[in-house]
């Protein structure tokens, strides 16, 4: 067979059904990544509208634009949406799914159908929780949903049930996605990609996925206890019956603090992808940075009680957790200096993606410094639950997690669409989002110190807060304008942008070795990896062409990808990959119905639909491909 024929054959094997049906049954990690991307953007828009409504209500004192009921729902859903339905799924689901296989030289994720199932369950959970707005019973007890406020005595509607069941449901989807990422990174790296050659982006996602696996069970358990108490009358959190409301808080933050690192780690990964490309040199201190990323994820599990410094827990506990919290600082400072000094050592071109990284570093340092202040227990006890905290975590979450994402969208846009974004509009969008972020969140530090507590639907005139709040609201709209500019840029450039070619930025990682947009099979030949920046390795790329000639590791005989050993990535086996399938979406629909029935306390029918879901699992396996 000639090279052309081999490639055509690959094309045929990996092609999926056309049209809408193709999207519904797809198992292609790139398509699933795009599904995640568009879905999470819709949730991002919803969370953004919620935020703007709140900011408009708070623009001046004693405003009555929204009622307190509505405000509480907006505030709760803003938090829940941005964390569970935007950041985590866009980083692990969209970026992780799309990019990890491309960066490690694989043809798909390790479990393609599970991957599809993860997406459809995530969508089901999102629709489930958002349907609460239709019945005016959206979650309303804050995103951390403290008991007893969230118990039946104080919150009679379905609001909190939507929250608890929705998060259990979403947790299943996220766990599936995280497992898949871990196995993919462990087993599907191209031969030769030992740990020390794996892109730092993949390290970051590995750390994220591992954290998710260990953190989510605490939240799920917490929500199960809450539902048992709300629906079946158990007493886990009830003092009169020997329960304790602090149990909720401990379990919540055992999940909740690692969650912070789950949110920012992928952003670190994106930063460590963008910086070397635009600084035009490799990252300095590679092993230190890789270790720092894993270390952050690990220490992140030992600091949860710093969210509870004012609950009156013992002084010894306070001091222990304050010390642990301070330790988290060091891996972060390592990374910050590694990024900044790489830029200094290189000959950087400041295009939009790198500008967003500059914004990210600025805001991350700001949010990090205010974060260190909270490790001073007395100061934490003064400022916790005020706008100072709101300022802090928005610099960390919006500034440090979302900015790299936005930069990442521009950076990989040409890879995904094959077209170039508009640089001028992109830079304008950077300055708008940068100014918007600073204007919205910086004054919050000040009003917080002036005594403004968080989660208030209004505030009194005469406390000196009015002017700052007005500036914050204006900032919110500037920020929204910046984000709209990005959306416009994407929409326009995807159709009209000039063709970008294979590697417009001269990136170092494997995704830049293949055409844009990537073909269904990703790599025409399993790529040769001899360094941490394989695309800068001319010889290895030459070797790929020779392999293609020799028909070595082209694997055009079937729907296949190679698996390798965990540490040294030596070729161990050729794995047969499953074809597209309707089972994942069918299973997800049935689970969604089951959750809706649980919500309305129809336990028997809910059990029925769960049983149906199990039956479908059997069907799924019955249609497993024949052993090749």
């Amino acid at each position: 067979m000639a090279v052309v024929e081999r490639v055509e054959r690959l094309e045929e094997i990996w092609l999926e059904r056309p049209g809408v049906l193709g999207w519904l049954t797809t198992v292609d990690h790139k398509r699933i990544g795009l599904l995640y991307f568009w879905t999470t953007l819709v949730f991002f828009a919803a969370g953004g509208v919620e935020a703007l409504l709140m900011r408009t209500q708070l623009a001046q004192s004693d405003e009555r634009l929204v009622s307190p009921e509505t405000y509480d729902q907006l505030m709760t859903m803003h938090g829940v949406t941005m964390i569970f339905f935007f950041i985590v799924p866009i980083t692990t689901g969209a970026f992780g799914n799309y990019l990890v296989p491309l960066m490690i030289g694989a043809r798909d994720m390790a479990f393609p159908r599970l991957n599809a199932l993860g997406f459809w369950l995530f969508l089901g959970a999102g629709v489930f929780i958002y349907s609460s707005f239709l019945v005016h019973e959206a979650p309303n007890a804050g995103w951390f949903d403290y008991v007893p406020l969230s118990l039946r005595q104080y919150d009679r509607g379905h609001n909190v049930d939507f929250y608890a069941l929705g998060l259990i449901f979403n947790g299943i989807a996220t766990t599936i996605g995280a497992l898949n990422l871990i196995v993919t990174i462990f087993k599907l790296r191209a031969p030769g990609m030992s740990w020390n050659r794996m892109p730092l982006f993949c390290f970051a996602l590995l750390a994220t996925a591992l954290s998710l696996i260990f953190a989510l069970p605490a939240l799920t358990a917490d929500c199960i206890l809450l539902e048992l108490q709300r629906k079946l009358g158990f007493h886990f959190f009830d003092v009169a019956h020997g329960g304790d409301p602090l149990l909720w808080q401990h379990l919540f933050w055992i999940f909740g603090h690692p969650e912070v690192y789950i949110i920012v780690l992928p952003a670190f990964g994106i930063a460590t992808s963008i910086i070397p490309t635009f600084a035009r040199r490799r990252m300095i201190a590679f092993p230190l940075v890789a270790m720092a990323e894993l270390l952050v994820a690990f220490i992140g599990f030992g600091v949860w009680a710093h969210h509870m410094f004012s609950t009156g827990i013992s002084t010894a506990t306070l001091v222990f957790f304050a010390a642990a919290s301070m330790m988290v600082v060091v891996p972060s400072t390592i990374q910050i200096y590694a990024w900044v000094l790489t830029v200094n050592l290189g000959t950087p071109v400041f295009r939009a993606p790198l500008m967003f990284i500059g914004g990210f570093i600025t805001f991350f340092v700001l949010g990090g410094l205010s974060g260190i202040m909270f490790a001073a227990i007395p100061f934490d006890q003064a400022t916790t639950d005020t706008y100072f905290v709101v300022a802090h975590f928005h610099f960390v979450i919006f500034g440090a997690a979302v900015f790299p994402l936005l930069g990442g969208i521009y950076y990989w846009f040409p890879k995904v669409t094959g077209r170039m974004y508009h640089e001028g509009l992109a830079q304008l969008s950077f300055w708008l989002t940068f100014a918007g972020t600073a204007l919205t969140f910086f004054p919050m530090h000040i009003v917080g110190l002036l005594g403004m507590t968080r989660r208030v639907y209004t505030y009194d005139h005469g406390l000196g807060w009015d002017a700052y709040n007005l500036v914050e609201t204006i900032g919110g709209y500037v920020l929204a304008a910046g984000l709209l500019a990005i959306a416009l840029n994407i929409a326009w450039s995807a159709r009209r942008g000039p063709y970008a070619g294979r590697d417009p930025f001269h990136g170092g990682t494997l995704e830049w070795t293949i055409p844009s947009p990537p073909p269904h099979y990703n790599f025409a030949v399993v790529p040769t990896v001899r360094s941490a920046s394989p695309n800068w390795d001319e010889e290895a790329r030459q070797e790929d062409l020779e392999r293609l000639e020799r028909d070595e590791l082209v694997l055009a005989g079937g729907h296949e990808t190679p698996t390798t050993t965990v540490n040294d990535a030596e070729l161990s086996q050729i794995a047969e990959m499953p074809p597209e399938s309707p089972w994942p979406i069918a299973l997800a629909v049935s689970v969604t119905i089951a959750f809706a029935l649980l919500l309305t306390s129809h336990y028997a029918s809910a059990g029925g639909f769960l049983a149906l879901a199990l039956l479908m699992l059997a069907g799924w396996h019955a249609a497993e491909p024949e052993e090749a």
Binding site: S67, V340, L341, P348, V365, G464
Partner: protein
């Protein structure tokens, strides 16, 4: 404050100057003063660190054509800098901060183990504060009188959900959690009114759950306490019929604790946890339409005749 003024003049103007009387950087007592001090020092160090990194970033842009550090240094120096600035320096600074704030300041501002001269119990309710004095039958709501320059222990608990007790100018906050009694010291250096607000989200009217600490010279405080401990001179039939299911007026048959004790309501400064100043027109508005003034609060709108309203208003205004 002088050191702070040197560090960040515009911020200091913004923070210490204006603002109402709920400003955590305008301390009125020992507890908050140490915290504010801690903040200004941390802010100073943070500004230096922030400035340093942003300058480095800016240098990266200015020197974008030169692939080496100033002085021609290369990757080896850069890696050493990562270790020095990213590992060694933070460790030194963090250890210092830990020892100072988490060992020293924390213990020097902790609530004393032994009972203080005066103990108040503050009980959070959705969405108001009940205040009781140990050793006295005085009960009041939404304002806490204390003698000036005296350590007063506040024992805080809750009647329902979690609230958080916070008087920003006096001390840090502490949560009010079912099944727990947390303690905090209130100590004011000068007479005055110190505003505070519930800091833990507690439902619909979390925004209107404020409280005032009124610090006065000892003799005035003693007189206030004695007067507040006394029962009301008498009851009112309209009140007994419509209001006694929720309120207490000591000395009458109204003994419920769903809403605030009203025995000396007329001498309080505000209505409904600082939602309105306590004036006769505001009282009228509140009684006739509490759900408009503070939507969702636990006092329902009642439908009485004009004559009954007027009798009630006269009675409530007489509870001095």
């Amino acid at each position: 404050m002088t050191r702070a003024a040197l560090l960040a003049p515009p911020l200091v103007l913004a923070l210490a100057g204006c603002g109402g009387n709920q400003n955590s950087l305008d301390p009125g007592g020992h507890g908050e003063r140490s915290i504010a001090h801690l903040f200004w020092v941390m802010l100073g160090v943070s500004l230096v660190g922030f400035g340093f990194i942003v300058t480095l970033l800016f240098l990266g842009w200015v020197r974008r054509d030169r692939p080496y550090l100033p002085g021609g240094r290369g990757e080896r120096t850069a890696t050493q800098l990562v270790l020095l600035l990213g590992v060694a320096l933070p460790i030194v600074l963090l250890v210092a901060l830990f020892v100072w704030s988490d060992l020293f300041v924390l213990s020097s501002t902790a609530a004393p183990k032994r009972p203080t001269a005066l103990t108040v119990r503050v009980i959070g309710h959705e969405w108001w504060w009940e205040v009781r004095y140990r050793g006295s039958s005085a009960v009041t709501a939404n304002e806490i009188h204390i003698p000036v320059r005296t350590k007063v222990t506040a024992i805080v608990t809750t009647a329902d959900v979690i609230h958080s007790f916070w008087i920003p100018e006096l001390n840090r906050k502490t949560d009010m959690i079912p099944g727990r009694a947390n303690r905090l010291v209130l100590e004011a250096d000068r007479p005055g009114v110190y505003r505070g607000q519930c800091a833990e989200f507690c439902g619909l009217q979390h925004a209107h759950m404020s409280v005032e600490v009124i610090a006065e010279p000892k003799p005035r405080f003693d007189a206030w306490l004695a007067r507040t401990a006394e029962p009301a001179p008498g009851g009112s039939p309209v009140f007994a019929k419509n209001c006694s299911g929720c309120h207490q007026v000591r000395g009458t048959e109204a003994r419920a604790n769903v809403g605030p004790d009203l025995t000396h309501f007329a001498s309080r400064r505000t209505i409904a946890a600082l939602t309105l100043p306590n004036t006769p027109p505001n009282l009228r508005t509140w009684l006739r339409d509490p759900q408009h003034v503070k939507p969702g609060n636990r006092m329902p709108n009642l439908h009485l005749s004009n004559g009954e309203w007027r009798a009630l208003e006269r009675y409530v205004e007489s509870l001095r």
